[in-house]
């Protein structure tokens, strides 16, 4: 097997709800090799989003180790974790989460404000990212002037623009119709196959499995069988 991109080792996650403690993940272990395209499925509340957030460094495990691209991200402080996210991981959400006041290209440029790139260099990278998602002609449009599928493409361009090796997507097609959903999944497949991105998507969509290389099932905070 090729070298690992994501290593989750014996991770538990406990949320505090007032006085109550809820353990969502119970000693979960998972390896995702570089270049993989994993679909993470499972019933609502099984902990998919929780796991994805941990892999993407949005939250920290209660115990256990998480190594991504060779970095022990569970040990990073919040500032270092933010810097790590900026360079190593792209996020795509169900509701796109674009900045409504910014044009498509400005949305895509936003993560580059954290880099030392010149304005011209930023513009170039933005153009490339929009080209990749097939939205070069909509660069000046505001999110509300775009369809759901187009918004999601902008969001994918934003996730790509700083060239991270890992993309994590939480139900990226959950709000789209079948045809548009297939287009987005096809785009992710291209990013995986042609650009070598490692992709983890959480989905309820059984068809997503057809696009992914493999599917994992999470139930009550534990992984079931690993389908081929």
């Amino acid at each position: 097997m090729s070298e690992p991109m994501v290593q989750v080792h014996n991770v538990t996650k406990v949320y505090e709800r007032g006085k109550q403690q809820v353990e969502v993940l119970h000693g979960l272990t998972l390896d995702i090799p570089k270049g993989d395209f994993v679909a993470l499925m499972g019933p609502s509340g099984s902990g998919k989003t929780t796991l994805l957030n941990l892999i993407g460094g949005l939250d920290k495990p209660t115990s256990g180790e998480i190594t991504v691209g060779g970095n022990r991200i569970d040990q990073l402080g919040s500032g270092a974790l933010a810097r790590w996210r900026a360079h190593n991981v792209g996020f795509v959400f169900q509701f796109y989460n674009l900045m409504p006041v910014l044009s498509a290209e400005a949305n895509v440029e936003l993560p580059l404000l954290l880099t030392k790139l010149s304005a011209a260099q930023r513009r170039k990278n933005v153009a490339v990212a929009l080209e990749v998602v097939g939205l070069a002609d909509r660069a000046k449009h505001k999110p509300r002037e775009l369809s759901g599928g187009q918004e999601q493409r902008v969001a994918i361009a934003r996730a790509l623009v700083s060239d991270p090796q890992l993309l994590v997507c939480d139900e990226p097609t959950g709000d789209l119709d079948r045809k548009t959903a297939d287009e987005i999944l096809g785009l992710l497949q291209v990013l995986n196959k042609e650009h070598g991105k490692t992709i983890v998507i959480v989905t309820h969509d059984p068809k997503a499995a057809e696009f992914a290389q493999r599917t994992l099932h999470l139930e009550k905070g534990q992984l079931l069988e690993q389908a081929a």
Binding site: G79, N97, M99, V101, A106, L113, L114
Partner: protein
């Protein structure tokens, strides 16, 4: 796009709300600029530089009368060339019930002390020799269409005549103008003879006046003379307060009340209201884009950067409104200055601008601080999940 561009784009996410808020900031700083410069006029110290005339009033208040018999003593002081005096008549133009700026005075003395007023010499003569004579400034004459030679009925809200009637009648014997644009703007005055007043008023008030005007010799030491005058009448029944024309004009307005205190209270109320208005705008604006702020953090912006974005927004809002408001205040101040012929120098001096900038910074922190801290504390996973 830059970080600044991003802040400005966010500022105008709700255009109407931002503009309304901006207007309230502009209004507040306009008021601040005007009131603060009024205040600095009133709190400025005595300035004797270049004074050619001194005003002598009763120490308690210029509404307290002084005896005209002080004139020879004042005129004996070295450096004093000539002394005139004026008493408030409380004139009212009956047909429109409009108060007039009207004084009783000694025509000749006044003429000597105020060469700035231009009037044909025969009219000065007529004023001196007509017991019921009245002279008025050009503006006043134009306003009411008065012509030399006509009778002008004026009532006094202070002084009835011997027959008990408050309605006086004067003969208009002259119309004066100012020697230059500044003085021409002040020709809204009216003067009558002190002698006629002395004999015709009901209370038998004689030889009393509200203030003396000392005309100084060229190069005379105004400050020293003012001290000499006040020392001369110290511990007498008629203690005096002597100041320059400019300071006298200022203290005239000060009679209304403690200007500084009034100004402070108004500004306190204005800025307190502003705090609520802008604070509410900022809080609302942060509340309605919690998910967006969480996305910023997701993309790798630090907690500090997100705090910075919100603070910068508050600062941009208050700075823009503040600078516009202060600029409007300085324009308005310059207009007031022109209108009053330079009697009120309402320019925004450096002190007012500095205070204004300090107010802008403090106000930004006050209205942006809490929302910015809230944005900084935001936990990504909770915010994204709408918790």
């Amino acid at each position: 796009m830059t970080r600044t561009g991003f802040v400005i784009a966010n500022l105008f996410r709700k255009r109407v709300r931002t503009i309304l808020t901006l207007l309230s900031v502009i209004m507040a700083f306009l008021l601040f600029g005007l009131l603060q410069s009024v205040n600095s006029v009133f709190s400025s110290g005595a300035d004797f530089v270049g004074a050619t005339r001194l005003f002598v009033q009763a120490r308690v208040s210029f509404t307290t009368a002084l005896p005209v018999s002080m004139v020879p003593k004042l005129e004996a002081i070295p450096g004093v060339v000539r002394v005139a005096y004026q008493q408030w008549f409380g004139g009212v133009w009956l047909p429109t019930n409009t108060p007039l700026i009207m004084f009783t005075l000694d025509p000749q003395r006044y003429h000597d002390v105020y060469p700035e007023w231009k009037m044909p010499e025969d009219q000065w003569q007529a004023f001196e020799h007509t017991r019921t004579g009245l002279i008025v400034g050009r503006q006043l004459a134009q306003q009411y269409g008065w012509k030399v030679g006509q009778k002008v009925p004026i009532s006094s809200n202070i002084w009835p005549q011997k027959n008990g009637s408050k309605a006086w009648q004067f003969d208009l014997v002259g119309i004066f103008d100012g020697k230059d644009a500044d003085w021409q703007k002040r020709t809204n005055l009216a003067f009558i003879q002190q002698d006629y007043f002395d004999e015709a008023n009901q209370f038998g008030i004689k030889g009393r006046t509200n203030f003396f005007i000392l005309k100084l010799a060229p190069g005379a030491n105004a400050e020293a003379i003012s001290k000499t005058v006040d020392a001369m009448f110290e511990n007498s029944p008629d203690e005096t307060k002597t100041q320059t024309e400019k300071d006298f004009n200022i203290s005239f307005v000060k009679q209304i009340g403690d200007i500084g205190l009034i100004v402070r209270w108004i500004l306190f109320a204005v800025f307190f209201t502003l705090l609520l208005v802008v604070g509410n705008t900022m809080a609302q604006s942060v509340r309605e884009r919690i998910p967006e702020l969480a996305v910023l953090k997701t993309l790798g912006f630090s907690d500090g950067s997100v705090l910075g974005f919100v603070l910068a927004e508050a600062f941009a809002l208050v700075l823009l409104g503040g600078l516009v408001g202060l600029t409007l205040a300085s324009i308005a101040g310059a207009m007031v200055e022109k209108q009053t012929g330079g009697q009120f120098l309402l320019e925004l001096d450096r002190g007012v601008w500095l205070l204004g900038v300090a107010a802008i910074v403090l106000m930004s922190l006050a209205v942006g601080g809490l929302p910015a801290l809230r944005a900084r504390r935001l936990k990504i996973v909770d915010a994204l999940a709408g918790r």
